[in-house]
Structures are given as C-alpha cells and as structure tokens.
C-alpha cells in the first residue's frame, strides 16, 4: 500500500471538515473584532505607520492598550 492508500484509509476527512467550521467561526470573530467601535481609533492610528519612515519614534501611544488591564 502506497502513501495514497495509507492517507486514504486514515479517515482524515473529518479533521478538514471540522477545520473548516472552526476557521469560519474564527474568521467571523476577527471581522467582528476589527470592525467593532472600540477599535476604530487604535487601528486608524496604526494605518499611519507607513508615513513615518524617517521620523524618530518612541513607542506609539496608540500601541498601548488603553482599555486593558496594564501591569
């Protein structure tokens, strides 16, 4: 029995199908997280990163989480 025979009999399809469902859910969560109101400012700030190549930077204020528990 070759590789194909072994793979064929291993019954792996279910993993791929479960994977599809999991990733669909993850994807939905990502979309929701990206577009929910709270993140707008932070992300629009991140969108400006390419524009300051040569500007000496300190850590961006926006890269700190303002709504999170900080240590």
């Amino acid at each position: 029995m070759g590789l194909s025979g072994i793979m064929g009999k291993a019954g792996l399809e279910i993993y791929a199908e479960a994977g599809l469902v999991i990733f669909l859910v993850v994807f939905a969560a990502v979309v929701w997280n990206t577009f929910r109101k709270g993140r707008k400012e932070e992300l629009e700030e991140a969108g400006r990163i390419p524009l300051d190549d040569f500007v000496p930077v300190h850590e961006r204020p926006g890269s700190q989480d303002d709504d999170e528990v900080t240590s």
Binding site: L20, V26, F27, T34, L51, E59
Partner: protein, 745 residues
C-alpha cells in the same frame, strides 16, 4: 515605557540589488515572451534548434516572469518596506546577501536547464530537483532573515503589509514542498510520486495557490505600503485592509474545492467551495476599492505622477482579474474557455496589468530614494512607458480574448448535418493567426516600455552621490508588552461579577486573542500556518482518496521501457505546452478526438501530461491514428504534412541517439513508485532495444529511412501507445504484473 533611544541605519544596498535584478530579468522574461509569441505567428522563429522551440522556451518565459521579475520585485519591496515598518535594520546583512545571490543563482540555473529540456513538466514548477532543493534553502534563509527582523523590531503594531509578507513566506514554503515530492532518476531527472488524477490535483492546488501567495499577497502587501507613501496619505480604511487580509488567507484556500467537483469531496464541501469562490469577489473588490479610495481628493496628483498612474492601473487590473477568476471557475464558462487563449488573456491581464504595473510603480518610486537623487532621471520617459505599457496590454489582451473565444467556438461548432463544422484542427489555428500578430505588437510595446524603465533607472543610478548618505534612525526599543496577553485571572472576572467560563467566552468573542496576534508575531505566524495547512489538507486529502475512487481498468498497463523513454522526450520537449491529453466528455470533443478520457487511464502517469492549452490538437487518442511514417515526416517538418501547421520542427530527434543506459534507472525509479514493472525491472534495456528494432523495421517496411536507435523511434513508440490500452482485452493471470501492451501499427 522605556525612554532610551537606539540608533541604527536601514540597509538600502540590498534593495538596490534587488531593483537592478528586477529590471534585468524583467527585460529577459518579456523578451522571451515576445519571441514565443512570434513563434506562434511565424513558426520559422523556432529556428529549428532544439533549445529555441516553443515547448522549451515557454517555461523559461513563465518562470522568468514569475520568479525572476515578480520575485525580485517582491524582495526589493519587502526589504525596503519591512525595515521601515518595523523600525529595524534587516536581521543579518550576510543573510540578505545570501538570499540575493542564491536567488540569482537559481534563476541562472533555470535559464541553463529549461532550454536543454531539463524539466519536471509541472507548470510553474518545472525546475528539476537539485534546483528545487536550492530554492528551499534560499527560502529558509529569507524566512530567518525576515522573522529575525520582526523579532528585533521597534514598532509594536505589525502593519498589515507585514502580515501579507508573512502569509507569503509561510504558504510558498508549504506549496513548494508538497508540490515537489519526487524520486530522482539521475541528477537531472525525477518522477513525481503522484500519478495521473492525483498529480493533476496536486499540481493545480499548487498553481491555484501560487497565484494567490506569490502573485497576489506580496503585491497587496506592497500596495498597502507604497500606495500610501506615494500618495502621502494613509490607506483609506485600515480596518478594511485587515479584513482583506484574513478573507484572502481564509477564503482563498478554501475556495480550492472548485477544482474538485465530482471527486471524493463531500457534496456540501464542494458547494461551499464554489460559494467561497464567489465570495472572493467581495474581499478582492474591497481591496481594490480600498486602494483606489486612498487616492480620494488626490486625483489631481495622479495626473501628474507616473508612480500613481502605474498604481491606479495596476490596482484596476487586480479588480479585473479577480473578477474574471471566479467567473472562469463557473463550469459552463469553463467548458468554453478551458484550453483556449482566454486563459492566456486572463493570466496576462493579471501579470502585465497587476504585477507588472505595481512593479513599475514601485521601481519608479524607489529609484530616486535608493539612489538618492531626489527625482527620477526622466519623468517624461516614465510617462511614455506608462502609455506604451497600457496600450500594449490592451492590444495583447483584447486580441487574445478574441482569439480564445473564436477558437473555442470553432472547436464546438457543428454544421446542419450534425458534423463538426471545422473538423480540421489547423483551420481553427489559421483563423486566429492575425490576432497572434496583434499580440506580438502589443508585447513589443510592453517590452519597449520595460526597456525604457531599465534605461531610466540606470540613468538615475548614474546620478547617484559619490557616497550614499545613510541617515541614522532613532527609535526606542520595545519595552515589555503590556497588552492583553493572557485571559485575565478568573478571580478578577469574579470580582467583576462574571463566571470564569463566561469570561472565557467573552474573551473569545471579543477576540482579544486577535489583538495578541497583531503584536505577537510567533502566534500570528502559527495561526496563519495552521489556517493554510488545515485548508490545504481539506483539499489534498480528497485527492489521496481518489486512488480508491478511480476505477482501475484492467487493460491499462505500464509503459514499456522504450515508451517511457519516449514519454520523457515528450516531457523534455514541452509538448504539453501545446497539446492536452485529456478529452472531455463533450460531443464536440469525442467527435474530434475519440473516446473521452477516463481517470483510470492515467494511473501510471508520473507526472500527468494533461496540459492546459491546446495550441495543437489533443493527443490522448493519437495512438494508432497515423502510421509511423506519418509521424516521422511530421516530426521532421510539420509543414511538410500539414501546410499551415505552427508546430515546431524537431530535426534533432533524427540525430540524437537513444541513451539506453538511462532506461534501467528510470524504470527502477518508476517501480519504486509502485508501478508494476515486473520483469522489466531486470531487463529494461534489452526490452527497449528490442522494441526499437521492431519499430525501425516497421518504418523501413513503410518505405521510410533507417532510423536505427534514434530518439524519434522512442517518441513514436510512446505516441503510438497513447490512449490505446482501454480498447484492449485485459491480460490474464500473472500477466497483469507485466507490461504487455503491444505497439500499434
């Protein structure tokens, strides 16, 4: 927060190198493109030399365009933008150099092997196994250098362009490895471990995703960096770009099953695959609109700036091609478009329009910066290039769309009496020759534009300062990440009146982990890798299941040793670039070519030879159609037999001797792959000699020349065997273990 500031410099030397290589190889790729376009309009341009025939040069063209031109452009874009987006010099200068020289070495070895017929015949993965290994090594070097840079970055948030680069690096590695599993049969020859239907699925899983992850994601990454730079404004919606990223990574690969209708794939998955293909329209167009809207309020700038012009047209072609792609995956459209020039038009609107124009925009934007000249040498020339290129593309694709649809319709046309309206294949070829000439004109325009760009950048380089200024950049190192790293303690949640499990759900639903991905590269990369691998398994596993689903046909036997050698000539000559071996179950095809192809007929085809474009007729049932002598005359000079043929002549097959000594190792390699070669494992060479002698005698009997031990004999042995097994009665008993099919005459 740390207040210390670190000082460092960006490495632009490596960017200059990659830009130079982009222009050099771009010119080569497009020049070869023009040559092969000319060969189709004017077969004499094949020059009757083995090294310059269409079948050998076409892979050189595609590989040069994809891996040398687009590849070097990607690396230039990545090295320049990543350092700036991450506020760090590349991880290691030596690795950068090794990457550059290694990649150029691979390109040179491609140019030194493909014209000599050293090829795996897998489209866009033709390079033979030693070069494949070199590609793997160079890619790993690139990956270490890139991830090393990310690790020492000074910018917390990883900008979306970098995400696209990460997806590219990870996925291309996976694609390259799985599509190149072979058994070597000598230094310049290997056989794919997959056969027939499986091999075809593997190859097009690769092809489908290579377009996504070599020609799409890195170019989107560079779009999200260089377009805002050139327009001097942030991207229209950063959030849309995040959505764009994830939908491509998730949906693109899952859309793969549209290649797998009618396989072992569960029905619901197949349907989902089709839905995903159509869903791809949304993110792709979202991305295009996001790009174009970045220029809102700056359109007056576009009129004045060639860089923006190239970007705008490039992005528009991205929209066009990603609209057309899903369209072509719809079965009824595909039944017309497949095997015709429609596909060629589609890929060129992508390659010339999207990849080419994004590259030119990139190069014109980079040149004055990396050569520190403030301005490009000549804005006017860049303008001229823009118009030459745009009109060139239009000439090219309009003519080739027309050629594709015309030929597709002619192939399936019936007259009133119910017979094929154009039974003579060559009629459908001569009809489109004028359009081939228009393509040559369009291609030449595009090539001239490319040369102007090279000249313009070269002249900019001559204006460089004596010593490049290397500005010192200052940035604070990243302190401890204070972000939401772990799901907060349950106690904390309890204090907030929440059950621990409820908190975990909230943690998931609010997708805090996604914010961690956005800053934790390792996790991010692992997730991307997982996404790609899971989706790929989903596609690949069914192809492994197919073996059990492909009904075996008892009368189908392995190729005899000489036929196998003849098949290797067919592969080396790149006949698959012009001929398919896959007759579809449509009446127009069975009328023209004969019985339609069954999956079970290909179980010994390592690699498969289905082809993707019918510049000449299908050859699956060519066995026994003509006499040996017909093939002798036709291969020597096709125009002697078929007046208006555009097939190259193969006089060298009448000079070159069969290399009998390589036959045994090749049969052995096949046997290792599970092909039941029986007795031939010990006596391949003798069997080959016998069969060659038999065919030689038959040709003599037909009044032909004495072709003792010439390559042409082996090729004829193969051609006469093709597609004949299913009409034979199956061998009995032990005989099934041996190659038994006879040569037809």
């Amino acid at each position: 927060m740390s207040t210390e500031v670190e000082k460092f410099r960006y490495d632009d030397d490596i960017v200059r190198k990659f830009v130079g290589a982009t222009l050099l190889w771009g010119a080569v790729a497009m020049l070869v493109g023009v040559i092969i376009a000319l060969q189709l309009a004017l077969p004499a341009a094949n020059l009757d030399l083995p090294y310059t025939t269409f079948g050998r040069l076409r892979p050189l063209h595609t590989n040069a365009a994809i891996f040398a031109f687009a590849g070097n452009a990607i690396f230039a874009a990545v090295y320049y933008s990543s350092q700036r987006l991450l506020k760090a010099r590349m991880f290691n200068d030596k690795l950068s150099k090794a990457h550059f020289w290694g990649w150029q070495g691979i390109i040179v070895s491609a140019a030194l092997t493909l014209p000599f017929g050293i090829t795996q015949s897998r489209e866009y993965a033709e390079l033979e196994w030693p070069i494949d290994l070199a590609i793997a090594v160079v890619w790993v070097i690139f990956a270490i250098n890139f991830f090393g840079t990310i690790a020492k970055r000074r910018e917390r948030h990883i900008y979306v362009a970098i995400w696209f680069y990460i997806a590219t690096i990870v996925t291309v590695a996976i694609l390259h490895i799985f599509n190149n599993i072979w058994i070597p049969a000598g230094l310049t020859k290997s056989y794919s471990v997959y056969a027939g239907v499986q091999d075809a699925f593997m190859q097009w899983w690769y092809g489908h995703n290579a377009v996504a992850f070599f020609l799409t994601t890195p170019f989107l990454g560079l779009m999200y960096y260089y377009l805002p730079k050139a327009a001097n404004r942030p991207v229209f919606s950063y959030r849309l770009s995040i959505l764009h990223f994830w939908s491509l990574v998730f949906i693109y690969i899952w859309a793969g099953p549209h290649h797998l209708h009618y396989t072992a794939l569960p029905e619901w998955a197949s349907t989902l695959g089709m839905i995903f293909s159509v869903m791809l329209w949304m993110p792709s167009w979202g991305g295009m609109i996001n790009g174009l809207l970045t220029l809102r309020g700056a359109w007056n700038k576009v009129a004045r700036d060639p860089v923006l012009k190239f970007f705008v047209v490039g992005i528009t072609f991205y929209g066009m091609s990603t609209f057309e792609g899903p369209l072509l995956s719809i079965k009824s459209v595909n039944s017309l478009s497949h095997y015709t020039d429609w596909t060629i038009a589609h890929v060129h609107s992508g390659a010339l329009g999207w990849n080419g124009f994004m590259t030119f925009g990139l190069v014109y934007w980079l040149a004055p910066r990396i050569f520190q000249t403030k301005e490009i040498y000549s804005k006017k020339l860049a303008e001229v290039h823009f118009w030459l290129g745009t009109i060139g593309i239009l000439f090219y694709i309009v003519a080739i769309y027309a050629a594709g649809v015309t030929q597709g319709l002619m192939w399936r046309a019936f007259d009133e009496s119910g017979r094929l309206a154009y039974p003579n294949f060559v009629e459908t070829v001569t009809e489109i020759i004028p359009m081939y000439w228009v393509r040559v004109v369009g291609g030449v325009m595009y090539l001239v534009g490319m040369l102007l760009a090279a000249y313009n950048v070269f002249m900019t380089w001559t204006k460089r300062p004596e010593k490049y200024d290397e500005p010192v950049i200052e940035a604070a190192p990243l302190g401890e990440d204070t972000g939401p790293e772990h799901a907060p303690e349950p106690e904390l949640a309890k204090a907030g009146g929440m059950l621990p499990s409820a908190y975990k759900i909230a943690y998931f639903v609010e997708a805090k982990w996604h914010r961690i991905w956005e800053r934790k590269v390792f996790k991010f990369t692992v997730m991307t890798t997982l996404a790609v691998i899971t989706a790929s398994l989903f596609e690949i596993i069914p192809t492994f299941l197919i073996k059990s689903n492909v009904p075996t046909i008892a009368s189908v036997q392995p190729y005899k040793p000489l036929e196998l050698y003849g098949r290797d000539i067919y592969i080396a000559e790149g006949c698959y670039n012009c001929h398919s071996q896959m007759i579809r179950p449509f009446r127009a095809e069975t009328e023209r070519y004969g019985e339609y192809s069954k999956p079970g007929e290909f179980v010994y085809d390592h690699p498969f030879q289905w082809g993707s474009r019918r510049i000449g007729p299908d050859l699956h049932r060519i066995g026994g159609k003509y006499s040996h002598m017909w093939h002798v005359r036709h291969m020597k000079n096709p125009r002697e037999v078929v007046d208006l043929s555009i097939m190259p002549a193969y006089p060298h097959m009448f000079d070159d001797d069969i290399a009998y000594d390589v036959i045994q190792p090749r049969v052995d390699a096949m046997a290792m792959l599970g092909v039941p070669y029986g007795e031939a494992v010990n006596s391949a060479e003798d069997m080959a000699r016998q069969q060659a002698e038999q065919i030689r005698q038959e040709i003599l009997a037909e009044g032909g020349p004495d072709l003792k031990d010439k390559d042409i004999i082996a090729l004829i042995a193969y051609l006469q065997r093709l597609g004949t097994d299913i009409f034979k009665t199956p061998p009995e008993g032990d005989g099934a273990q041996e190659p038994t099919a006879a040569v037809n005459h």
